[in-house]
C-alpha cells in the first residue's frame, strides 16, 4: 500500500493513497463532520458539511473550501480543518438544516444517538437566526418495522442510496425537489426490502426509527448491551443486543469487517421479540403421571426426579439442536454419552451437512467470509434462494456484481469511493452472476443469466459444468443444446475469473444438487486456484453441530425403548413427520425438554425446563463459513430460567450423585469441550475467558451515562440492589469498568467523545469500512487443506421418472416465516404470508385453479389445504411450497404430490 504525506492542522501524517480526505481524517481520529458520506456507500458531496480548507502550497495563505469527501489525498497536501472560514461554513450548513428540523429531540427516538445532534454540537452552531415557519411534511405508514417522521429529514440522501443503490430495493425513493424533497414510498405501505431495518442506522437523524424499539423505548445511554450473534440463519451476523428492566429492547448491527460490516437483515433486526414473549417458559414444569397436566414445580422436586430418571442404569437419549450453542449441545452429549447423542435433524439434512463439512475439511478450496464474497468477480448460485435462506449473502453478491464497474472506474481515474461518477460511468456494467434456481430470485435483476430448472435440471447443469472444467469429473450425457451452451459459457467465465465463487446450500434438500455444487467447485479449483465455495446451511449452529459426533433423528427409529429422552431447544415436529415424532415420544418413558417457547414438543415433556435464550446466555455458534463466534448475555439471570448447559450440568450432577457442580463456570465447560473435541481448540485459545481484564477491570455493558441504577428497583426495595454478577464472561452488568476499546469480540456498544450515534464506530475501526481494531471477531475453525483429498461424487441417476402422475414439490423458504423463533416476534409475524404453493400457470390450469384459490394437496401422509400462487418463473411440473411456516405440518421436501381443486 503506497502512502502519501499530508499536513492537517499543521501536523504531518502518512495516509493511504487512493483514499479521500474525509476517510483519511476519520482514520486518523480527526473529527471531520459529515452527513451524506457513508463508508459502505462512498461520497456524493451532497451535504457540504465535510468542508475543509485546502491550500495550494506553503505560500498560499488564502486557501479555498473543498469538500473533504470528494478530495483525493495527494502528496504534500495542506489542509486546515480549524480555520474560521471552514468552521463558519460548516456551522452554516447545520444552521441551514436546522431551519426546518423540528426541535423535538426529547420525544424523538433518535435523541441521544443522533448523528445530527453530534454534528450540531461538533460544528458549534448554536443561536438560531431563522425566524420563519418551518416546512412540514406528512408521514407515511411503512409497515410494522419502521416508523417515518419526514419533518426531521435533513436530506442527506443516505436512505435512498442504501435502499436502492446498495440493497436493490425499489419501493423507497426521493420525490419532489428544492426544499420539498421527500423520502418515502410512492404510497403508504410496507417497505418491501429485506434490509429495510438498516435505514434506522443509516439515517443520521430520526426519520426512520425502529418501531419495535418504540414499543419499549429506552435511550441509548440507559441500555445495557452485549455483543451477540444473530441466530436467524447460518451466516452469523454480529449484533448488539440491548436490555432495560429485564427485557430485550432492540437489536442493532455490530460491525464485523469480515462478516456483516455495517448491515444486517430484517429477520436479524426484528426477529428478537420472541425473547420477551409472555408465553415464554419461565418455570419448571412437571407432569407426574402420563396424561396429567404439566404443573409448576420447585427445583428440589426437580432434582429428586432427575436423580431417578437419569440414574445410571437407565437408557438416556439426548437430542441436540442446530439452534443451540456448541456448549449446550456438548453438555448434552456429555450427559448421555456420544453414542446416545442425536443431532436432532433429519437424516437427509444430517447427510448433506456432513457431506459439506467433510468436503470443506478435505478440500483445498477456500470458504470465503461474507466480505470476501463481495470481492468475487464471477459468481454462480446453484439452487439456493439466498435472500430468504441467507439474506446477507444475497446482499454481498449484489455488491460483488459491482466489481467490474470498480475496475472500469479505476481505468478512468475514478476512485471507488466516488460513488456517483462511478455509477454514471459504469451504467449497467456488472460482474457476471449466474443464478440457477427453480423459481424467481431477488438477484435475477442483476444476474447475467437466470436459469429456471427443476432440481434435476439444476444438478445436471452443475455436473455438466464440472465435466467441462475437468474431464475427470462425471458429466451427464443428456444435456440439451441450450444447456450445453450455457454450461460452457458459465464454466469459461468462472475459469477465467480472478476470484470466482460458487454458492449453493442444503435448503433444496437435494443430494444430487449438493454433489453437483461440490463437484463443480472441485473441478473449477483444478483450473483456477482462487476459486471459492460457500455452502449455506439451515440454522445458526448447523455447522457447529455437524462438527460434533452424533446421529440423525431418523436413526432413533430403530431404538425399541427409551427410558429418558432429553430434548435440547428443538421442536422435533418441525424436523420429522408427526407420526414418527409421536412414535418417538410414545416409546420414551420420560421426556425432558429444555426450551424457551411453548411448542408441540414442549407439550410432550414430562419435565419442562426453562432454558435461557441467546440473550440470556453465553455460547458459541459456528457459521456456515466455519467461523466460531460467541454471544454474550444481555439480560441478567431471572430464576429459574437458566442456560441449557447449566440445566444439563445439574442433570449430570444428579445422575452421578455428585456434590459439586459439573461446570461451575462457562469456561469450565469450554475446557471440557476442547479437551474432548480438539476441533474446537480455538475457542479456548483465542476467545477471551471470564478472567480477562482490561487494566484490571471488566468490560461494562452500560454506558457511562447509564441512569437509574439506584432507583430502578425502588418499587421492590429502597436500598440499591447488588448488581447481577457475571462469572461467565469478562463483561459486567454495570457502567463501571474499562469501557475504552475492549477487544472486538467484547464490544457491547460504540461511543467515543463527541460521537453518540452509531457513527462512533469510526473510533473502533482501523479505517472506515475496514477491520475492527485488533482484528475482526470470530475464529475460523476450518481452513482449506494443503492437499486436496476430495473425490468427485459419481453421477447418481435422478429419481423423477418414478413419479409420472405427480408433481415434484420443492421447498420455498421465506425470510419471514421459515425460521422458528423469529416467527414468534409480533412485528415480524405481521410480515408472514399465508402458507402457499407456487404453481406454474400450465400446471394451475391443469388442476383448474387460479391465483389465491385453495387446493387440496396430498404429499406422503399429509393432506392439506393450501393457497395457490401462480408463479410464471417455475418450470412446468415443479411446484414450490412454503417451507417451515408456523402451523404447517412437517413435509419432507423435495417430494412428490397430487393436487385437487377445492370447490367452494
Amino acid at each position: 500500500m503506497t502512502m502519501v504525506k499530508i499536513q492537517i492542522d499543521g501536523k504531518q501524517y502518512e495516509v493511504k493513497q487512493g483514499k479521500n480526505l474525509l476517510e483519511a481524517g476519520l482514520t486518523l481520529g480527526i473529527d471531520i463532520p459529515h452527513f451524506c458520506y457513508h463508508p459502505a456507500m462512498g461520497s456524493v458531496g451532497a451535504c457540504r458539511l465535510c468542508a475543509v480548507k485546502k491550500f495550494r502550497d506553503a505560500d498560499d495563505k488564502q486557501g479555498r473550501i473543498v469538500m473533504s469527501c470528494l478530495e483525493p489525498v495527494t502528496e504534500g497536501m495542506i489542509i486546515e480543518t480549524r480555520d474560521d472560514t471552514s468552521k463558519d461554513f460548516r456551522a452554516s450548513v447545520v444552521e441551514g438544516l436546522m431551519t426546518n428540523h423540528p426541535h423535538d429531540c426529547p420525544v424523538c427516538d433518535e435523541g441521544g444517538e443522533c448523528h445530527l445532534q453530534d454534528m450540531t454540537v461538533m460544528t458549534g452552531h448554536n443561536y438560531r437566526h431563522f425566524d420563519f415557519k418551518k416546512r412540514t411534511h406528512n408521514n407515511q405508514y411503512l409497515g410494522p418495522f419502521i416508523a417515518h417522521e419526514m419533518n426531521r429529514c435533513i436530506q442527506c440522501y443516505r436512505c435512498v442510496r442504501f435502499y436502492r443503490d446498495y440493497a436493490g430495493g425499489k419501493d423507497l425513493n426521493v420525490f419532489s425537489s428544492h426544499n420539498h424533497v421527500y423520502f418515502g414510498r410512492h404510497e403508504e405501505g410496507t417497505l418491501e426490502s429485506e434490509f429495510s431495518g438498516n435505514l434506522v442506522e443509516v439515517c443520521p437523524t430520526g426519520v426512520f426509527t425502529d418501531k419495535t424499539f418504540h414499543k419499549h423505548f429506552t435511550r441509548k445511554w440507559d441500555l445495557s448491551n452485549a455483543p451477540s450473534v444473530c441466530t436467524g440463519c447460518s451466516v452469523g451476523c454480529n449484533i448488539i443486543v440491548s436490555e432495560r428492566y429485564g427485557s430485550l429492547r432492540r437489536v442493532m448491527n455490530r460491525y464485523n469487517g469480515a462478516v456483516n460490516g455495517y448491515f444486517i437483515c430484517d429477520r436479524g433486526r426484528f426477529g428478537y421479540e420472541f425473547v420477551n414473549d409472555e408465553k415464554r417458559i419461565r418455570t419448571i414444569k412437571i407432569r407426574h403421571k402420563k396424561n396429567d397436566n404439566q404443573e409448576e414445580a420447585e427445583n428440589e422436586t426437580l432434582i429428586s426426579l432427575l436423580k431417578t430418571e437419569l440414574s445410571k442404569d437407565k437408557r438416556i437419549i439426548g437430542i441436540g439442536s442446530p439452534r443451540a450453542s456448541i456448549e449446550s449441545n456438548f453438555a448434552l452429549s456429555t450427559l448421555v454419552g456420544k453414542e446416545n447423542f442425536y443431532h436432532g435433524i433429519s437424516k437427509k439434512e444430517h447427510l448433506l451437512t456432513d457431506t459439506i463439512l467433510n468436503f470443506m475439511k478435505q478440500s483445498s478450496i477456500r470458504t470465503p467470509s461474507l466480505k470476501q464474497m463481495e470481492k468475487a468477480d464471477a459468481v454462480l448460485v446453484l439452487g439456493e434462494d439466498l435472500v430468504n435462506t441467507a439474506p446477507m449473502v444475497a446482499l454481498a453478491l449484489r455488491q460483488s456484481t459491482r466489481n467490474k464497474s470498480f475496475e472500469t472506474a479505476e481505468k478512468n481515474g475514478i476512485p471507488s469511493w466516488n460513488d456517483a461518477p462511478l455509477r454514471e460511468l459504469a451504467q449497467d456494467e456488472k460482474s457476471p452472476l449466474f443464478v440457477i434456481t427453480s423459481f424467481k430470485d431477488s438477484l435475477d435483476e442483476i444476474a447475467e443469466n437466470s436459469i429456471r430448472e427443476s432440481y434435476d435440471g439444476i444438478a445436471n447443469l452443475g455436473f455438466a459444468m464440472a465435466g467441462l472444467l475437468d474431464t475427470k469429473a462425471p458429466s451427464p450425457s443428456n444435456l440439451n443444446k441450450e444447456h450445453q451452451n450455457l454450461a460452457e459459457k458459465i464454466a469459461t467465465i468462472l475459469k477465467n475469473a480472478k476470484n470466482p465463487l460458487i454458492v449453493s446450500g442444503v435448503h433444496s434438500g437435494d443430494e444430487r444438487m449438493v454433489q453437483a455444487a461440490l463437484n463443480m467447485a472441485k473441478a473449477l479449483s483444478s483450473v483456477n486456484k482462487n476459486c471459492m465455495l460457500s455452502m449455506v446451511l439451515p440454522e445458526s449452529n448447523s455447522m457447529g453441530l455437524a462438527m460434533m459426533p452424533g446421529k440423525s433423528l431418523d436413526d432413533l427409529a430403530s431404538l425399541e425403548e427409551i427410558d429418558t429422552l432429553v430434548v435440547l431447544e428443538n421442536d422435533l415436529y418441525r424436523r420429522a413427520s408427526e407420526k414418527s415424532v409421536n412414535a418417538l415420544f410414545e416409546k420414551s418413558k420420560k421426556v425432558i425438554v429444555l426450551d424457551h417457547l411453548i411448542n408441540k414438543t414442549t407439550q410432550r415433556a414430562d419435565l419442562l425446563l426453562p432454558a435461557a435464550t441467546f440473550v440470556e446466555a453465553e455460547g458459541t455458534l459456528v457459521s456456515h463459513e466455519g467461523r466460531a463466534q460467541r454471544f454474550y448475555k444481555a439480560l441478567p439471570d431471572k430464576e429459574p430460567v437458566m442456560e441449557s448447559w447449566r440445566w444439563i450440568g445439574e442433570m449430570i450432577q444428579a445422575k452421578e450423585q455428585k456434590q459439586e457442580a459439573t461446570w461451575k463456570r462457562f469456561d469450565d465447560l469450554v475446557a471440557s469441550l476442547t479437551h474432548e473435541l480438539p476441533v474446537f481448540d480455538g475457542l479456548e485459545k483465542h476467545m477471551p475467558d471470564a478472567d480477562f481484564r482490561m487494566l484490571n477491570e471488566k468490560v461494562p455493558r452500560q454506558t457511562l451515562r447509564y441512569s437509574g441504577r439506584t432507583s430502578m428497583n425502588a418499587k421492590v426495595a429502597v436500598s440499591e440492589t447488588r448488581i447481577t454478577l457475571d462469572e461467565d464472561s469478562p463483561l459486567t452488568f454495570s457502567m463501571e469498568g474499562q469501557s475504552e476499546m475492549p477487544p472486538s469480540s467484547l464490544t457491547p456498544f460504540y461511543w467515543t467523545p463527541g460521537w453518540n450515534s452509531v457513527q462512533a464506530l469510526y473510533g473502533y475501526l482501523d479505517e472506515p469500512n475496514g477491520s475492527m481494531k485488533g482484528g475482526d471477531p470470530g475464529i475460523r475453525l476450518i481452513e482449506p487443506a494443503e492437499n486436496d483429498n476430495t473425490e468427485y461424487f459419481k453421477e447418481m441417476s435422478s429419481t423423477s421418472e418414478n413419479h409420472e402422475r405427480e408433481l415434484q414439490i420443492v421447498p420455498v423458504y421465506q425470510i419471514f416465516g421459515s425460521e422458528e423463533l423469529s416467527t414468534k416476534s409480533p412485528a415480524l409475524a405481521k410480515r408472514i404470508k399465508d402458507p402457499f404453493i407456487y404453481l406454474n400457470p400450465e400446471d394451475a390450469k391443469a388442476v383448474g385453479v387460479d391465483d389465491d384459490e385453495l387446493v387440496h394437496l396430498e404429499i406422503d401422509d399429509n393432506k392439506l389445504e393450501i393457497k395457490v400462487k401462480i408463479e410464471n418463473s417455475l418450470p412446468k411440473g415443479v411446484v414450490g411450497m412454503a417451507k417451515n411456516f408456523p402451523e404447517m405440518p412437517f413435509v419432507m421436501l423435495p417430494g412428490y404430490g397430487r393436487f385437487k381443486k377445492i370447490n367452494s
Binding site: A46, S92, V93, H178
Partner: protein, 424 residues
C-alpha cells in the same frame, strides 16, 4: 454589418426550408467539414476562432471539443447534446434561433458531431417551446430526407442520428450535467465533477453539451474561416452576439450585434432608451443570475471578460432592466423565489439557503423586515459562494442579491425603517 446568425430569420414568416437554407449556403460548412477536413481540423478551427460558449459561462468551445477522446476503438458511442432548455429569466435568444432558423442549428450540430465523432446527438428542448419543437421536427425530417442526417452523410462515411428530447421543465436542466441525468431518465441533479462530460457524459460516454447559439455558429465558421469570425467582433472574443433587453424600455427585443458593443449602445440605440417617465436604475446584464450593472457601468463593452471586470457576468447577454418605479426588493424577491423553487434539492446551502433568502426578502417587502435580516442576507451570499455549493445554481442566485444589497442598500433600509414598501 454582418448578422450571420439572424440574417435568414424574418419574424412572422416561416423559417427557411432545408432546400432554401442549403441554397443560401447554410449547409456549406457541413459539406466542407465532412468532405475536406478531418475532425481534428474542425476542432482546431473552432479553437482558433475563439468561439466562447454562448450559454452563459463563456467556456472556449474548441477546447471543450478537444477534450473528447478521439481514439477510434475505445470511445464509442459518443454523444453531442444541444442545450436548448432556455429557462434563464429574461433570456429568449435561443428561442429566436430555434423558431427562426432550425436548419442553422442542425448544420452546426452536424459539424460539431463530426468534429468529436459523435454517433448520436440530442436537442434537449425546453418544454414550453412548442413552436420551436414544431419547426425543429420539420427541419429534422427534411435533413434526414436530404441525407444530411442518418447513415453515411454526403458519402463521407460519417453517421449521425439526431433526436429531440422535450424537457420536463426544470431550470436546473440548463446545468449540463443535470441535463444529462435528466436525459438518462434520472432525477435532474447535477453531477460530481470531475469527471467532466467529455470523459463520462451521457450514459457514461464521452459527451459534449453546447448551447443553441454556440452550435449555430459551427457551420458558419467552417465555411467562412476563423479570421472572418474574429473580424465580426469588437473585442478579442470572436463573432457577433445576440443581445437582448427586457424591462421598461421603448423597444424591447433582440439584436445581433458585434461582440463588445457597449451596454449604452444596446440600451439607448437598439432598445430606444427608457420608456417615458421611467428612469434607469440598474441592469442584470445576462439573465437573472448575474450581478447588477448600474449607471456607472453603461459604457462597458458587452463581452465575457469586460463585464467580469466590472464585477458581473455577461451570461446570456440578454439584459433585464430595473427602473425607478419598480421596488428593487420586490424585484429581487421575485428572482430569488424563482431560484429557490428551481433548486434541485441536492446540496444543503442551496436547498436551505435560497428559501431563507426568499422569506427574508418577502418579509422586508411586506414591512416585517429587521436590520438583522440584512446581515443574514449578506452572510447567505457568502455561504452560497462558488465551491461551497454542489453546482453554480446558488452562486448564480447570489449574484443579483449581493450586488442588489450593495447598490440598493438605502431602499432596503427604508423598507425596514418605514415598515412598508415605499413603492406601494
Amino acid at each position: 454589418m454582418e448578422r450571420p446568425l439572424t440574417e435568414h430569420i424574418k419574424p412572422g414568416a416561416p423559417p427557411l426550408t432545408f432546400e432554401e437554407y442549403r441554397k443560401a449556403g447554410g449547409y456549406e460548412g457541413v459539406r466542407k467539414a465532412l468532405k475536406e477536413m478531418s475532425p481534428t481540423e474542425v476542432t482546431n478551427l473552432i479553437k482558433d476562432a475563439k468561439l466562447l460558449g454562448r450559454g452563459g459561462a463563456g467556456f472556449p468551445t474548441g477546447v471543450k471539443w478537444s477534450l473528447v477522446p478521439m481514439e477510434p476503438d475505445r470511445s464509442k458511442p459518443k454523444y453531442l447534446v444541444c442545450n436548448a432548455d432556455e429557462m434563464e429569466p429574461g433570456t429568449f435568444k435561443d428561442r429566436y434561433l430555434l423558431e427562426g432558423n432550425p436548419h442553422q442549428l442542425i448544420a452546426g450540430m452536424i459539424v460539431a458531431a463530426y468534429a468529436i465523432q459523435a454517433d448520436k446527438a440530442y436537442i434537449f428542448l425546453r418544454w414550453a417551446y412548442k413552436k420551436a419543437e414544431k419547426a425543429l421536427r420539420k427541419a429534422l425530417a427534411e435533413a434526414y430526407e436530404a441525407g444530411y442526417l442518418g447513415e453515411n452523410i454526403l458519402g463521407s462515411g460519417f453517421n449521425l442520428d439526431l433526436n429531440i428530447h422535450v424537457s420536463a421543465g426544470r431550470y436546473i436542466c440548463g446545468e449540463e450535467t443535470a441535463l444529462l441525468n435528466s436525459l438518462e431518465g434520472k432525477r435532474a441533479i447535477p453531477r460530481t465533477k470531475p469527471p467532466f462530460p467529455a470523459a463520462s457524459g451521457l450514459f457514461g460516454r464521452p459527451t459534449v453539451v453546447n448551447n443553441v447559439e454556440t452550435l449555430s455558429w459551427a457551420s458558419h465558421i467552417v465555411s467562412h474561416g476563423a479570421a472572418w469570425f474574429k473580424s465580426l467582433s469588437l473585442t478579442e472574443t470572436g463573432g457577433t452576439k445576440i443581445f437582448g433587453v427586457s424591462g421598461r424600455v421603448k423597444n424591447p427585443g433582440l439584436w445581433e450585434l458585434p461582440m463588445g458593443t457597449t451596454v449604452r449602445e444596446i440600451l439607448e440605440e437598439h432598445a430606444g432608451g427608457m420608456t417615458e417617465g421611467y428612469r434607469f436604475r440598474g441592469a442584470l446584464p445576462g439573465g437573472a443570475s448575474t450581478d447588477f450593472l448600474v449607471e456607472q457601468h453603461l459604457d462597458i463593452q458587452m463581452d465575457f471578460a469586460t463585464v467580469a471586470a466590472a464585477g458581473s457576468r455577461m451570461g446570456t447577454g440578454t439584459m433585464i432592466i430595473l427602473d425607478d418605479k419598480t421596488c428593487p426588493v420586490a424585484f429581487l424577491k421575485n428572482i430569488e423565489r424563482f431560484f429557490a423553487l428551481e433548486s434541485c434539492g441536492w446540496c444543503t446551502p442551496c436547498r436551505e439557503g435560497l428559501p431563507w433568502v426568499e422569506k427574508i426578502l418577502t418579509a422586508i417587502e411586506e414591512g416585517r423586515g429587521r436590520m438583522e435580516h440584512l446581515d443574514t442576507l449578506k452572510s447567505q451570499t457568502k455561504y452560497l459562494a462558488p465551491g461551497h455549493t454542489f453546482c453554480a445554481h446558488a452562486p448564480g442566485a447570489a449574484e443579483p442579491l449581493q450586488s442588489g444589497l450593495k447598490y440598493f442598500h438605502d431602499d432596503f433600509v427604508q423598507h425596514i425603517h418605514d415598515k412598508k414598501c415605499p413603492w406601494k
